[in-house]
Subunit: 386 residues, 2 copies
């Protein structure tokens, strides 16, 4: 096991009816900016619940944060923060709204002229404007971590940011919200959380036994709950298991003391930037080819995964490992997610070279747990995904 | 799944050499009281490592905190805190030293005349004197939770205390310390952590799938590591898995959203108070009888445990459940822990009635996840443990 630091100060309020507790979690007298996305919260009742809980606060709203939170839109929100002297942010949404709010938390206190520098120069945020979240879409885990991914359309870029100052002060997770999430988004949430776990697990054995078992636990729970929640998102128990699994998949715990990969995400981000494919679906496109390409380096862990998560007890390490990859692809298919790039775009020729070029330009020349995936490797992996 | 709040702000620094980071974790200019136990840290090099890291601080020492931290001794330490104007506490030890430090953290800021009131009147500590820990004995999980158990010899009492103000600010977990722990203490740590998990798991099914799997993961890891760490405590990898499992067993995570039992602890505490039997061993004495006595109410969970943790796949729910109990008892025996009261004392006649009387006097008349274990039930359970 490797040395690690672990601290996660976010307070989770989990369960039915918890949104009402907003009023005691936000400091009295705060001037609040409530941020949200496309407005679905106005149809499913969440907006009304939040408004009711915020009755005692001076509160301004900013809606319209798009999926893959867009820098230009966020810069408009930043203007509102400054003009209205906002001192507390409340994200009501999924990963995109929460990530956008994290950017604003950082940008609001940033002393330079151009907040893009936070992303471009990879400046860690040690102190941000305080914020909380009301999660409306289980998927990214952003509600209990300190990272964010921001998109800039004009230069087709997706960049990551983070820092110890970017943990939400609190996050309210009410599984009732799952009932109104469209099937496509639920599938995305399942695939996103599942891939988050794989990126932190499918590397090489390092005898971090508890971290391995926790990762396997999250995958097993997602596998169990997937067919049920896809069929009936209004089942509260299933929604609760789905929601808590997504949070635990990327709140930092399972990555402590172990090597992590994240190459799938880095390649996937490029597919979203190039074609606008849903983030989770880009992960499903890349995962299979990535594991096949890196088979020799990952086969021990793939075999352990096949054995423990999929109960494949027979066969050699290689046989089990191959079966594990196939089970993963089958899992994505079982929730209606296609795993080949050509199923998303007809314009796929040349994508692999383009992805390789973009990774190289960003200096991402050593991806994966060994730092051994070069842009040339990425090119081959993306080509295998056609 | 039940509604829950979860927040754990303790920073963990895990791994070889981390003790040196003390100097950056304690705020500059602090006047530190370093607390420790019987002095084993002077033999195994931990004392020297801590002293070296504290070189820049004004630091006072207080050694001699006994196992089952004794109120009278802690009151002496409290005097030192006041006389020396201490403003930061550092526990260097196992659960007893850390629990004692938590009491001091609370008592140092307590405004009443008699700090025993904190325990006697169950006053939650919302703000304590800040403190950190250097863990020398994996077992109780106290290094990452906000609870403590304090003993008062003159009235043969063991009382619990806690509150959101009692999380350590940081805890340093260096698995290297395990190498010098006596076999008896390692066995105690394994049994203690294992029982902590069982108390939060062995109740009734509530479809909190991830919490169940996390609990099972910790038990599986402890079972895997137990024979290895008993044989060779100097194996760093095994020590790391042992240490992290003990912390995760009682840092609050696995109890969120689920019913918990804790009847084993309540009965076990009385055995320690009456006979001075090691805390962990009292748990091993009570666990088997408790599960046999409450078999009908716990059999579904016992069967799930037998299946997933011990890979018992054949037989009825009842058969599996019985096998699960036996496997638990066998596990304690495998690490050299006896499970019958008569193996610890010849003076056991009348113990069951005495335990029942003491529980009744304290108002502990409704123990367990159903609040259905009365003192009369406890009497029968303790009698089964003879």
């Amino acid at each position: 096991m490797r040395n690690f630091d672990y601290k996660n100060p976010t307070k989770i309020l989990f369960g039915k009816g918890e949104i009402a507790k907003l009023k005691t979690e936000i400091p009295e007298g705060s001037k609040v900016l409530m941020l949200y996305g496309g407005g679905s919260i106005k149809k499913n009742g969440i907006y009304d619940q939040v408004q009711k809980a915020l009755a005692g606060f001076d509160c301004v709203e900013f809606g319209g944060i798009p999926p893959n939170p867009e820098y230009a839109v966020l810069m408009d929100a930043l203007k509102v923060i400054k003009e209205e002297n906002i001192d507390y942010l409340l994200a009501v949404g999924g990963g995109s709204v929460i990530d956008g709010t994290k950017f604003l938390s950082s940008a609001a206190l940033y002393e330079g002229d151009e907040p893009w520098e936070i992303l471009d120069k990879k400046i860690p945020t040690l102190k941000g404007m305080p914020f909380g979240t009301v999660l409306t879409l289980p998927a990214t885990g952003s509600e209990m971590n300190s990272g964010a991914v921001i998109t800039r359309a004009d230069i087709k870029e997706k960049r990551v940011m983070g820092g110890s100052g970017l943990f939400p002060q609190f996050s309210i997770l009410d599984p009732s919200v799952v009932a109104s999430i469209p099937e496509r988004q639920i599938a995305n949430g399942l695939a996103d959380a599942y891939t988050h776990v794989m990126e932190q697990y499918m590397t090489f054995p390092i005898e971090a036994n508890l971290q391995d078992r926790f990762a396997e636990s999250i995958m097993q729970t997602l596998i169990e709950v997937a067919p049920k929640i896809m069929k009936d998102p209004s089942n509260y128990t299933d929604a609760a298991n789905f929601m808590w699994s997504c949070t635990m998949a990327l709140n930092g715990l399972i990555q402590k003391g172990v090597p992590t990969d994240w190459a799938i995400h880095m390649m996937g981000h490029e597919l979203t930037a190039l074609y606008g494919i849903d983030h989770a679906r880009t992960l499903a496109i890349i995962a299979g080819p990535h594991y096949k390409y890196s088979f020799e380096k990952k086969k021990e862990k793939l075999a352990q995964y096949a054995e423990r998560v999929w109960d494949i007890r027979e066969g050699s390490v290689e046989n089990k490992a191959h079966a594990g990859i196939q089970k993963t692809i089958d899992f994505f298919h079982s929730i209606g997610i296609k795993t080949q790039l050509s199923e998303y775009t007809t314009d796929f020729e040349g994508t692999s070279a383009e992805v390789a070029k973009r990774l190289k330009e960003k200096g991402m020349i050593a991806l994966g747990e060994h730092g051994a995936i070069t842009p040339a490797d990425a090119e081959k992996i993306v080509e295998m995904s056609y």
